[in-house]
Symmetry: C2
DNA sequence: GTTCCTGCAAAAGCTTTGCAGAAGA
DNA sequence: TCTTCTGCAAAGCTTTTGCAGGAAC
């Protein structure tokens, strides 16, 4: 089964596949680091020297509205983006700042208090210390 | 079993129970609406006309560090606070903006991908449309 | 020619910081 | 007296908005 290209995915969502948009979407899909606006902007500036943050914001808004990406708000002061729309959780290491994905499935019937509610979006965010940082601590 | 008062809870956490701090903590505990800074400030201004937002921010920071309250970041642009530290999820209705609590328990052993990780904090945020808004829609 | 994408600059909004006066021990 | 709590004002950041030039079709 062929994976659609980034451009095809944009077209399928009725978004014109401009070079900037392809690059921004591509970056979020390939880098699985759940980048911030700042990271996307700084990284793509190398390849697109005229890129502006406005375009990054505009594009992220367009991609979000088309539900090609989604927002991650683990921390109040940093908005991140994720192109993986499957149900999974995010773990942020408070020591090194890395974000890890993990598998989790929340069955609606195991939830009390939301009977008759329409659930569009589920987010699971954990924080703590990752295995790698825990291991390093012992070596220090 | 006696519940400790707000002042006692502050003292137990080595926080001086000033009037502002008691009122702010009290507001978060009593109002179970998970208020924003803005809401806390505006509401308490009635009773404490000289209150400043700086004091609200300062106090929230102190309470957070003492783990008497916790941050809720369902949306990127609104930071909310919750004094209920028990494990529960938050549902935000995208139509009326209300936030509902719901029961959920995440067993660590049902999570794949975080073996050997230290988990400090778990957050579950859902979005959608609440029962009440769904019912109203039919009446409109 | 028309649409809409891009990017500069300015504005807006929230949060933090610096500092001085006030309150409390 | 000494500490620290409070609050004004300013600064800092991120995000949004207005608008004009430019690319694409």
């Amino acid at each position: 089964m062929e994976q659609p290209t980034i451009a095809e995915r944009l077209i399928n969502s009725h978004i014109k596949p401009s070079y900037s948009r392809i690059k921004i979407m591509e970056y979020i899909v390939n880098e699985r680091s759940h980048p911030t606006v700042e990271e996307i902007y700084n990284e793509l500036l190398i390849e697109l020297p005229t890129l502006s943050k406005t375009t990054v914001y505009n594009t992220l808004y367009v991609l979000m509205k088309a539900k090609l990406i989604r927002l991650i708000t683990i921390e109040e002061n940093e908005t991140r983006y994720d192109a993986d729309l499957s149900e999974h959780g995010h773990f942020k290491c408070e020591r090194c700042g890395s974000i890890y994905d993990f598998c989790i499935s929340l069955e609606n019937n195991s939830i009390e208090g939301l009977n008759g509610f329409l659930i569009d979006d589920k987010n699971v965010y954990f924080k703590g210390v990752c295995q790698s940082c825990l291991a390093n601590k012992n070596n220090n």
